[in-house]
């Protein structure tokens, strides 16, 4: 234990913005939660449950973006299929929540979820067994994405699949899962997915207190993952990761088995995505195959790029900002918001090559000296 603490304390030097950021994040979480639970709804400072849930969702997305940034920004693995791990985590949670409904489904079946009853299934498929236990479901929420990432990564990285080939493979992976989960025979509720959840470990999902708790847990989880990730990436392993990103072959020649580094980082990232998915589902109330859609995964990559790739905080900021923009835009200009969002992406790419977080550094160096950039590559 003390070893672990020591290890963490050493990492503080790098990532100097992490701690302030975590403090800010937790402060906002506490304030928002308090404003929701303690203030009367007509108070001007009241934060509605809608906002809390929305924030909770954004934080899950931020966690997913973080996962993508870890492998893309730091290790150069562009995954266009991270939504798959997110969705798998989500399904694990969804299955648990589904089982919690028990005999309160519309058909009143003691064991089978509604969609199985009405498709005339006779018994619970084997992969649903144990999902009524919270701990088991949570283990599955990290093990399944992790295992898939391990198998996929083991195959791909060992065969030295890289670059766009890898990206397109991840896309194929999530696309195949999308199609598979659409199939009703798969036993995951087909296109409708899993929904109509009632409670989580005994707490009513519709209660404000439960929602606030979920939000707070998400924030804590995000903070924890951020700190751990920051520490990992500032260790020597982080340096190896960057080395792999920039010159993988060279890294091998100094004795690192780069494929193992990549596999484990990929698994770590997938597990984070799985956790994000598991936290996402009870807050939005539904999980369905749409989450596997390749376009969703591409969007995550875009959040990261908007925020600033290669900085963990950038990924979080990007996810929060783009999603906030989406929420605002869709409400303000339902017919034209895609113009605004599209333009945002184009403009960020053109004028903020290092993303929003990079803007800070850009302004700083601007002030110092006008730069002469190299024309070539």
């Amino acid at each position: 234990m003390s070893k672990v603490i020591k290890w963490f304390s050493e990492g503080r030097s790098s990532g100097k913005y992490t701690l302030p950021f975590v403090i800010l994040l937790l402060a906002i979480t506490v304030l928002a939660s308090g404003a929701n639970l303690l203030l009367p709804p007509d108070s001007p400072l009241y934060v509605s449950t809608y906002s809390i849930t929305l924030l909770g969702k954004y934080l899950c997305y931020a966690m997913l973006a973080l996962a993508v940034d870890i492998i893309w920004g730091y290790c150069g693995i562009l995954s266009l299929g991270h939504g798959a791990f997110f969705a798998l985590g989500g399904y694990a949670m969804g299955m648990y929540l589904m089982r919690q409904i028990g005999d309160r489904g519309v058909y009143g079946h003691p064991v089978l979820p509604d969609f199985m009853v009405f498709l005339d299934w006779q018994e619970l498929p084997w992969f649903w067994l144990g999902m009524d236990q919270f701990w088991f479901a949570m283990i599955m929420a990290v093990v399944v994405p992790g295992l898939l990432a391990f198998v996929f990564g083991w195959l791909a990285f060992r065969s030295r699949v890289t670059g766009v080939y890898l990206s397109i493979m991840t896309q194929a992976l999530t696309y195949a899962l999308l199609l598979a989960f659409f199939r009703n025979e798969m036993g995951f509720g087909g296109n409708n997915g899993l929904t109509d959840f009632k409670e989580i470990i005994g707490f009513d999902l519709q209660a404000d207190s439960t929602r606030v708790s979920l939000f707070v847990i998400t924030a804590l989880m995000l903070a924890l993952i951020l700190v751990v990730s920051q520490r990992i990436l500032s260790s020597r392993l982080g340096k190896v990761t960057l080395a792999v990103r920039d010159a993988e072959a060279r890294t091998r020649f100094i004795g690192y088995r780069t494929e193992r580094y990549k596999v484990w980082l990929f698994v770590y990232s997938a597990v984070i995505a799985g956790v994000a998915g598991a936290l996402y589902v009870p807050q939005v109330g539904i999980i369905n195959p749409g989450e596997f859609s390749p376009i969703n995964s591409i969007e995550v990559v875009i959040w990261v790029a908007v925020g600033g790739r290669g900085t963990l905080i950038g990924a979080i900021v990007g996810a929060l900002l783009v999603n906030y923009a989406k929420t605002r835009f869709t409400a303000i200009m339902p017919d034209g918001w895609l113009f605004a969002l599209g333009a945002l992406f184009v403009l960020v790419t053109l004028f903020l090559p290092k993303g929003l977080v990079g803007l800070y550094g850009q302004l700083k160096s601007k002030r110092r000296q006008p730069s002469g950039q190299e024309v070539q590559s």
Binding site: K239, V240, D246, Y256
Partner: protein
């Protein structure tokens, strides 16, 4: 049927009790058996690319502690030979042994590097996005497994070692500069530095003085001479002056096989070598 047998056999292989799975096996720094004074055996190496023979029945033996110069015309196969030794390229036939026991052809790049074979590339390749210091830290001779790397900490002696090397390669002032911002010659030095900190048994050095000034060339020569003895060094270089200043044994490659081998004097007076490589003038000098 035989497919079934095979798979059963394969399964048995997989679960043999006297062996551990490769990913569980401890990666100890293996001992190099040099009881015969030889550290590198290259025999009958052949390699062709789309019909072009880059290596042609090549044989090469290098003694432990030797400083061997490898010269030869552009395209003779020197870099390719290093590629094969370091596991970058698979050869068509032949054997490469490191010491008596390590068959390098069955190993991959990381394995070979961990055995203690270090390499400097013809075109300097460093980790451009990281500082000079980090480049060196990554190259340290350490346990390179994932978990160990995660919890690795720089020991004072390692820091000293890095400082020492920084001094040798003249990049003390650039230690926290990104390697990508170094000039060509500085990158050459950094790469040499990365080799030095990794403390290898066998150094394969491809054209170290390309783009260096005369004085730097001299310094490099000194450095390499001092390394030999304890370590084995194979240097590829076209700068004859430099070769002459360090060489004890010189091997000349031509069209993928050894054309001549001997002392610098012997080589310089070898007709064939003069014809295909040195040219009249250089031989005179």
């Amino acid at each position: 049927m035989s497919a079934l047998d095979q798979s059963i056999q394969g399964l048995r292989e997989t679960f043999r009790r006297d062996q551990v799975w490769p990913f569980l096996a401890p990666e100890q720094a293996a001992k190099v058996d040099v009881s015969n004074q030889m550290i590198l055996y290259v025999e009958g190496l052949n390699l062709s690319f789309d019909g072009f023979k880059a290596l042609n029945d090549l044989n090469l033996y290098v003694k432990d502690g030797e400083l061997r110069c490898l010269i030869g015309a552009n395209g003779a196969g020197k870099t390719t030979l290093m590629d094969v030794i370091t596991g970058k390229t698979q050869c068509d036939s032949g054997t490469v042994y490191f010491g008596q026991t390590h068959n390098l052809l069955t190993k991959d790049e990381a394995d070979i590097a961990q055995l203690g074979i270090g390499r400097k590339f013809q075109k300097p390749t460093v980790f451009e996005e990281q500082t000079v210091f980090d480049n060196l830290e990554l190259s340290l001779k350490t346990d390179k497994r994932v978990i160990q790397t995660l919890f690795a900490r720089l020991s004072p002696s390692e820091i000293d070692r890095i400082d020492e090397v920084l001094k040798i390669i003249g990049l003390k002032d650039q230690r926290f500069m990104k390697a990508g911002a170094l000039s060509h010659g500085q990158k050459q030095w950094l790469e040499i530095g990365m080799l030095l900190v990794s403390d290898p048994r066998l150094l394969l050095i491809d054209e170290p003085v390309a783009g260096m000034t005369a004085q730097e060339t001299e310094r490099t020569a000194e450095l390499l001479t001092s390394l030999a003895g304890e370590r084995t060094v194979i240097v590829v270089e076209h700068d004859m002056e430099f070769v002459r200043s360090i060489a004890r044994t010189v091997t000349v490659l031509h069209q993928g096989s050894v054309l001549a081998e001997g002392t610098m004097d012997q080589i310089q007076n070898n007709k064939d070598v003069i014809e295909v490589y040195l040219g009249e003038e250089a031989a005179e000098a």
